[in-house]
Symmetry: C2
Subunit: 575 residues, 2 copies
């Protein structure tokens, strides 16, 4: 490809709404064009990058016996009604009515479609296991699209669905897919991807993992043990703390005028926040009824863990916490609390003999609360956020660290949720009808491309790994108006292409600084610079985008040498 | 791939709503599964076929300097408002409102998106010409989806858009693309694809061609000259007839009781229908006002030609042709016709000195109508359907033949319709702002696959050309319970795959008749049968799906021989 004919412009500066590096560089580099909130068109370089990623994914899916299929983007609502998700998913799902007044949806995931395709065709246990996958456009009406291709509304995704006759078989396949994912990310050149245990969310199912590319701009928060293998999304990480039980004390009501926050109370009483019981109030989405969570004063509630425990959707309580409801903001405590609220006790309070909490009365707190004595037997559950230095649930050391990550892939053990709902059965070896057990496995293609840019760039542009780079070699013609230089460039361009090398040739008559700035934005691994000066010395100047090499090679035999360089770079990604 | 693990079932019979052969065979063969009207999921074999077609298309598009890009499926309505098509396209376009109440559409074509992507980035004449294309899902809410993948609502399409600074440059590129299309269809193994001149329809623009795969079940009717190169869609084919002018006669009103049709009139008057002026009544969609078309008694009106001439949308008049409107059904004629209707005279009436037409009065016709004398000077336009034996507009012989075809591709010279509407300009070499001139070029991938099946099958299944066949070789293990036979099959399977051959291996313990019926439905070009009998003779049995070869080859050296066969077959499609 010649740059003079390549559609797309490079810019010195990014628009001010590009907040993260990869977004800035991919807009500046002519990789994408904004069309609407979370909707982009992709220029040729991005299409080449994503196609390479897709091919890597396809090869790895085929290696674990995946069958590539194609599901529709537009599906009838009835299919989603069968699984219950037509109603349980909210405005994230785009819906429309077709010309015959049928309700239709745009696919945001394809469990229903996978079961629809497999149903009636895999009727004997002998047909199992199998896995089907597709690489296709999905639409999710995200409330907050951000970060360029990191979080968009329309995206290309590889989604795979496996079907099994036993949990053991699912687990075995799950492990295979786990390994395939590790290979995919390595081959695509993502350096810092780690698998973490995750919450299964709207997919249903139990065991699941997310593959997280570690990055400060990541939306996900991860708990990672520095001493052992424990790695989990915050939402799936138990919060384990050691409590100092302390002495049993008498229950004592104290006057705490206008002392409504833990901070105020800490200053007022001059005691450790670990002795406080903090109340956090939520409301159920369904009926706005209250949920009061007590957690140790120094900790926070993790809403997803709370949501999973309650089994219903909730939101933080608004200003509508009124006295009629029996809840006194700033002075909430377990003793004499209204019975209209659901009360949840976090594990962090278990075993503390004397707690300070609100007295459910304006300007008063209790000291010396002993939950068993003053409230009765309660169940303690884990709904707190873990934190830097918390106890690792696996090795037991105070070694939890907190990191940020971008979710680039996920794998779920779904169980029979969808096969049951859609009545897909097979006959087992005793002739009994059984529901197949499913797993599902996703990778966001565009997000992976942008994430790799996020971890692999400098101030001047992306540094694409050669396995997904839009082109392998860029030729920079530093004197396009010099016929001799241009002829030499054109010869090398043709020669390299004949050798099967992917070449971008910058044939424009522009200043060297301008050309090099563009080359940095293209992020091509191998750069060949040709100028009157290099030709005088009868050589080309070669440099790698990642700065690991810079030197001159003689013109004679240059194509073979460049090819060897490309092959050596590629070999690092051939697992 | 082993058949025992391949998802999808083969059937003896097709559902009764499968009306055409390719649809029947692709349902019977486990190629696709119906999800909703015009919406299908595709099993692995179909995905493999369409991917091969896509790769052929991609290679040919890249050869003519195409840049592969990616446009969104979901687009903001505002983009389509700019071109005017948000309003001009009806219920074929799916529309929905997103969570923020923005009107969105599902792309049915991407002219607007192409201009959006190219606008502001190709600002100098030196940046031209260029072509961008994508291969992606489209949704068109067809009123009548039919024929399996031939006419669906959701489909994969290659759509390309070229931009030029002069009409000459567009024409030159148009010709390149024309040739690329011919190569694509040949390489994909479509035998009977011909380019025909076409009507540009909703795309706008002037010159356009459709690539038609000739097939009796085709929805398009084509006029093809048997003597010269003339080929056109009926909608774009001039209807040329020779009139016998005859003698001038006096105008005479005749009593024709209850004689309302041309047939009745022909019997009643016993004269040639070529002397009749037939009236056909339409109404404008906008206001239901009437359009009366006069055409020679033996001819029919082509609605598209009429629509293009009028420049507005029309429909055949309903029963609502009432006397108040001045139109007397069955007795309509040009003399004394109400002035409330738009009147159109077809060229077939030009020069006839004495016509028989209705008298605009119940039970009366006129004889001897001379339009110039009795009505005045009128304009004759071409709105009639051409027919078998009509005069060829190119060579002038009576050599027009009528064929049916499936449109598998189309190319349009769009002009500046979209660049003007969306205000995309570049500076020419004099520094003046100009609108780029566009061309656009489409191929339906799934439709092409189904069309090839339609022209290349027998009663038992598809006969896939090897260039797009889901696999190149099928191994049939005729005695899967025989360890010796199975080991031999497995060995060959692995060996062929190691040689880079795509192999489907039927490893199931089923009766030979059952296995062969399935093999016919798979339609794989080369079949290798292994049984105790063939192994006794130390050979394999080879046959081609198209019946052009059947024979035995010795086990020793078989893989290399099979590879040579595959390569020879493939070479026929390497242009």
């Amino acid at each position: 490809m010649k740059v003079s004919k390549l559609l797309g412009e490079r810019f010195k500066n990014a628009p001010s709404d590009c907040l993260i590096d990869s977004h800035k560089l991919m807009v500046r580099g002519g990789y994408m064009k904004y069309m609407a909130n979370g909707i982009y068109s992709l220029f040729m370089p991005t299409k080449r990058i994503t196609r390479k990623i897709e091919n890597i994914i396809r090869e790895e899916m085929d290696k674990i016996d995946g069958q590539e299929v194609m599901f529709p983007v537009v599906m009838p609502a009835n299919l989603w009604r069968k699984s219950g998700r037509y109603d349980s998913i909210g405005s994230e799902m785009a819906r429309f009515t077709d010309r015959n007044n049928n309700d239709m949806v745009l696919g945001m995931t394809h469990e229903e479609a996978a079961v629809h395709l497999a149903k009636d065709t895999a009727q004997s246990y002998a047909d199992y296991p199998f896995m089907i996958y597709q690489i296709q456009t999905k639409f999710r009406d995200e409330p907050r699209s951000r970060g360029g291709l990191i979080r968009v509304r329309e995206f290309t995704m590889k989604d795979a669905y496996s079907f099994h006759t036993s949990q053991e078989d699912l687990e075995e396949y799950y492990q295979k897919c786990f390994t395939a994912y590790e290979r995919i990310f390595k081959r695509a050149g993502a350096k810092n991807v780690i698998p973490v245990k995750s919450d299964s969310g709207m997919m249903g199912g139990s065991v699941s993992h997310e593959f997280m590319l570690l990055a400060d701009i990541g939306e996900d928060t991860l708990a990672i043990c520095s001493e052992c293998d424990f790695k989990a999304n915050m939402e799936a990480a138990p919060c384990i703390v050691e409590n100092i039980s302390g002495d049993v004390q008498p229950l004592e009501k104290i006057f705490t005028p206008d002392i409504k926050t833990i901070d105020d109370l800490h200053k007022f009483l001059d005691c450790d926040t670990k002795q406080f019981g903090k109340a956090v109030v939520y409301q159920k989405n369904s009926d706005d009824s209250y949920v009061v969570v007590f957690v140790r004063g120094d900790l926070e509630v993790n809403e997803t863990k709370l949501r999973n425990y309650l089994g219903v959707d909730i939101h933080p309580a608004q200003d509508i916490v009124t006295e009629e409801c029996g809840i006194v903001p700033g002075f909430i405590g377990p003793v004499n609390l209204t019975d209209k609220a659901v009360v949840v006790y976090d594990k962090s309070l278990e075993g503390i003999n004397a707690l300070v909490c609100g007295a459910n009365e304006k300007d008063y707190h209790y000291k010396g609360i002993n939950i068993r004595r003053d409230v009765g037997e309660v169940t303690y559950v884990d709904v707190a956020k873990t934190f830097e230095g918390a106890i690792c649930p696996v090795c037991g050391k105070h070694s939890v660290t907190i990191k940020k990550g971008i979710e680039v892939g996920n794998i779920f053990q779904l169980g029979t949720k969808y096969t049951k709902a859609m009545n897909m059965t097979y006959l087992d070896n005793k002739g009994q009808a059984q529901y197949p057990i499913m797993g599902c496995y996703g990778i966001g293609v565009g997000r992976l491309a942008a994430s790799i840019c996020e971890e692999s760039h400098d101030d001047y542009g992306p540094i694409w790994p050669i396995s997904i780079a839009p082109w392998q070699v860029e030729i920079c013609n530093l004197r396009a108006k010099d016929d001799n230089v241009s002829a030499e460039c054109e010869k090398l361009y043709q020669h390299l292409m004949d050798l099967g090398i992917e070449v971008l040739y910058d044939d424009r008559a522009v200043r060297p600084g301008f050309m090099f700035a563009d080359a940095d934005l293209f992020g091509i691994p191998v750069r060949v610079v040709i100028s009157p000066k290099t030709l005088e010395k009868n050589c080309y100047e070669i440099s790698f985008r990642d700065k690991s090499f810079k030197g001159e090679i003689p013109v004679e035999n240059a194509p073979a040498q460049i090819k060897a360089m490309v092959e050596k770079l590629l070999s690092e990604y051939n697992l």
